[in-house]
Amino acid sequence: MAVRSRVLVAVLAAAGIVLAACSGGPAGQSGSGPSDSATFALPPNATPNWILPIGIPGHLSGINTAVNRLMWPPLYTYAGDDGSLAFDEKASVANKPVFSDGGKTVTITLKDYTWSTGAKVTARDVEFHFNLIKANKTKWGNYSKGRLPDNVVSFMIVDDKTFTLTLDKVYNTDWFAENQLTQTLRPLPQAAWDKTSADGPVGDFDRDPATAVQVFDFLVERSKQIAEYDKDPLWQVVSGPFRVTEYSPQGQVTLTRNDKYTGPDKATLTTVSLKPFTSADAEYNVLRTGQLDYGYIASSNLGQTSALEQQGYTVEPWQGWAITYIPYNFNNPKVGPIFAQLYVRQAIQHAIDQPSIAKNIWRGSAAPGYGPVPQDEKSPFISDAQKANPYPFDIAKAKALITGHGWTIGADGVATCTSPGAAENQCGAGIAAGTPLRFELLAESGSKETDNTMSELKSSLSQIGVAIDLKQAPLNTVLGNSKPCTPEQAECSWQLSFFGTQGSWYFPAYPSGDRIFTTGATSNLGSYSDPKADELITRSTQSDDSAAMREYGEYLTRNLPVIWLPNPAYQISATKTSLQGVEQDPLVGMSPQRWSRK
């Protein structure tokens, strides 16, 4: 670099910074495009990357589901648009399920919907979905042993619009309706998708488990071709209010109104564009220019609320029905035995100052969370233990737990095991002498609040002898690297991971933990396994006794399957006042079909 240019670069960089810092006023034009379209900002680094409504590991990001539900709506939708979680009649493809035979038989009747090809949506389309997940459950990312399809003994078509499910046992009806049917089953276009190759014939391949595998593989293969989504005829057969007309590998998605939609939830706007961003700062800069109709701000920019309001935005937090946590990888061969020690998990939890993180880093837009159900004090599901927080911030107590179990904090501030063994005052089974309390934490990038939360964790844990080696990556990378695994697998090298800038886990209406904390569940990323927890989770999903959920919640609050962290708002939304019909569903479903222009 030449001398002058080097000085110039440095000076220009500084000047740019000065200008950026000084530009406090409203920045530019309002209006973001044609009046029958809207632009929506995607979360930082959380780009849609999967169109098939059956996710596979590494493609389970919630934004994928939010998008594909607009094209292939599920049987049932629950939403909290009016402030409480309730059945969303308008967005549901079927009438409410009818339980009979003591709860073992469920009868479902579809409403009058048609595919964009003009064909009727029938029970056969639901059976197609059911057969695919049944024959490919090991490949299906959301499979959890014992849940649907395992808990359905038979799927019987009664007529074009009606089918029955015979269950293996009686389940909690709320759980089955709100978590199983809502989350899992939906009509998929059997007449277009039931084939094993692009040029092959359409048949009843899904009814034979062997060929159902081939159909699934074909659909998965096509779903990997992100750049082809808008051109692939497969994905143009939809029953929802939108179809995809742009879907780039970088995450830019344009949804266009499905003019052949026949349901009651027809879209008003012609197009909705979903814009990807690599960071909240980048998104905010675009928001300030008025080019987004529905964006968000980082909590660091909450001071700019009045400026945004002057620009024609309404700023409002979007609270999610969620919990936020860092999973321990209990199967990591190196640190798994350390994570298996409850006293270590207790010490780590005691070292986390959740109220302070929520107040100072998230500037009040996050709320401390102490257990496995959303920390809503009025919720019938929350236990007294979770309300009270059994592990309040206490560095001295945390340190005592570590040093009282055979660990000695060295000159470098890192504790090492000096008393190996399984006795009460020793490090614990499987921990060798000299093992350091040093963990690698992979955290999602793109958020200042997450960066600061991770810095705070590293700082406070260093005070109790726990060293954290921090690494950051985009959300999809973090999710792709944080899979359940067995110790001998190479991908089991991850130790701790954080993917909760917008909350780690969003529950369906019934906040059971069967998908995240049951032994062997696909989203039990850290392979947490505890027989008592399994028993309580099972009870919470099978019994109609509301105390079952609280008992489960209390046990996991105390047993710490993960590191509980403050739960951030899904986002702090900034919505153009000219965009009507925007409601912020705690289940974080998107309903752009209900948006309109004033």
């Binding site: 670099m1 001398v3 080097r6 000085v7 670069v9 440095a10 000076v11 960089a13 500084a14 910074i17 000065v18 950026a20 810092a21 530009s23 406090g24 960071s279 700062d281 905010y284 300030r288 980082a298 660091s300 920019n301 001071g303 700019q304 400026a307 100052d353 302070s356 993180i357 107040k359 100072n360 880093i361 990038s445 793109g446 200042k448 960066d451 600061n452 991770m454 810095s455 705070e456 590293k458 700082s459 406070s460 260093s462 005070q463 080696d469 921090l470 690494k471 950051q472 990556a473």
Partner: protein, 288 residues
């Protein structure tokens, strides 16, 4: 009585001193080094542990002359700690790039022929790939640390000095004293060590100062992109990046101080490089 003849070193020093900007650069560098390395001895702060209750204090509040950042770190103390990282990486990476580039260019130029062709095509290929891109890739593969950044920046920055040194080596290899050494049975590597590199040392030193300035800027870029050294370590680029999140809120103390120090440091090394070029280049000395 005639004035005693000035030595070559004296002449160089004189030429350097005649360049006012070079003197300003040297003074700036001394001040910056003192600020970063001696400052923490006088102004002691905790730059390891966060204090969330003291986040975003205004300058002067609660005994923090430049306020605090969003994790409660004292900004003045953090500027010192961050400067140590930036300067250490800049100096070490600049030195590493200079050593590699000098050795590479000297060998290529001295031996010539196919070896030169191969070695210089490697350089051409390397220059075609933006250094920042390689840094970003490296930062995603390994957790950035001071040694890692030194190594990576050094390994992507040696190409320009290699070209410069090759040109010097090509010119020097046909000098009589080099020919004489070879005729006397001296080895090529011996000639490079004893004659080629020592006689090109002026070019090497001048370039080294620019390498340091470039390395500091690269650290800044990488940190600004969020791929710098993880906390609690700090560097000026990372501080700048962190402060920009609050640019709309008017938290100037999180933005201007690190930005200013980056500019001053780069300017200091650049001015010193200019002065050294005057000092080592005969044409400039004569003109002076």
């Amino acid at each position: 009585m005639t004035a005693p003849a000035r030595s070559s070193a004296d002449e160089r020093l004189l030429a350097f001193r005649r360049n006012k900007l070079a003197l300003v650069g040297a003074a700036l560098l001394v001040l910056l080094v003192a600020f970063c390395f001696l400052g923490p001895l006088v102004y002691v702060t905790d730059q390891v542990h966060t204090v969330l209750e003291a986040a975003r204090l205004l300058p002067g509040e609660q005994g923090h002359p430049l306020g605090t950042d969003d994790l409660g770190y004292d900004v003045l103390g953090r500027l010192m700690a961050a400067g140590q990282t930036s300067l250490v990486i800049g100096l070490a990476a600049g030195a590493l790039a200079t050593v590699i580039g000098t050795a590479w260019g000297a060998v290529a130029g001295f031996y010539g022929g196919w070896l030169d062709a191969v070695m210089m095509r490697v350089v051409d290929a390397g220059i075609a790939i933006p250094g920042l891109f390689l840094l970003v890739v490296a930062a995603t593969l390994v957790t950035p640390s001071v040694p890692v950044l030194i190594l990576v920046i050094g390994l992507v920055s040696w190409l320009v000095p290699a070209r410069l040194m090759r040109a010097e080596s090509l010119a020097l290899r046909s000098r009589a004293y080099v020919e004489a050494m070879r005729l006397a049975g001296g080895t090529g590597l011996g000639a490079i060590r004893r004659h080629i590199v020592p006689n090109a040392i002026g070019t090497v030193i001048v370039n080294a100062t620019f390498q340091v300035a470039d390395a500091i800027l690269l650290v800044t870029y990488v940190s600004f992109l969020g791929l710098g050294i993880p906390p609690p370590a700090a560097n000026w680029g990372g501080m700048l990046s962190g402060g920009l999140a609050y640019s709309y809120d008017g938290y100037w103390w999180l933005i201007f101080p690190p930005g200013l120090l980056i500019v001053l440091t780069v300017c200091a090394f650049t001015f010193i490089g200019d002065g050294l070029r005057d000092a080592f280049d005969v044409r400039f000395r004569e003109r002076a």
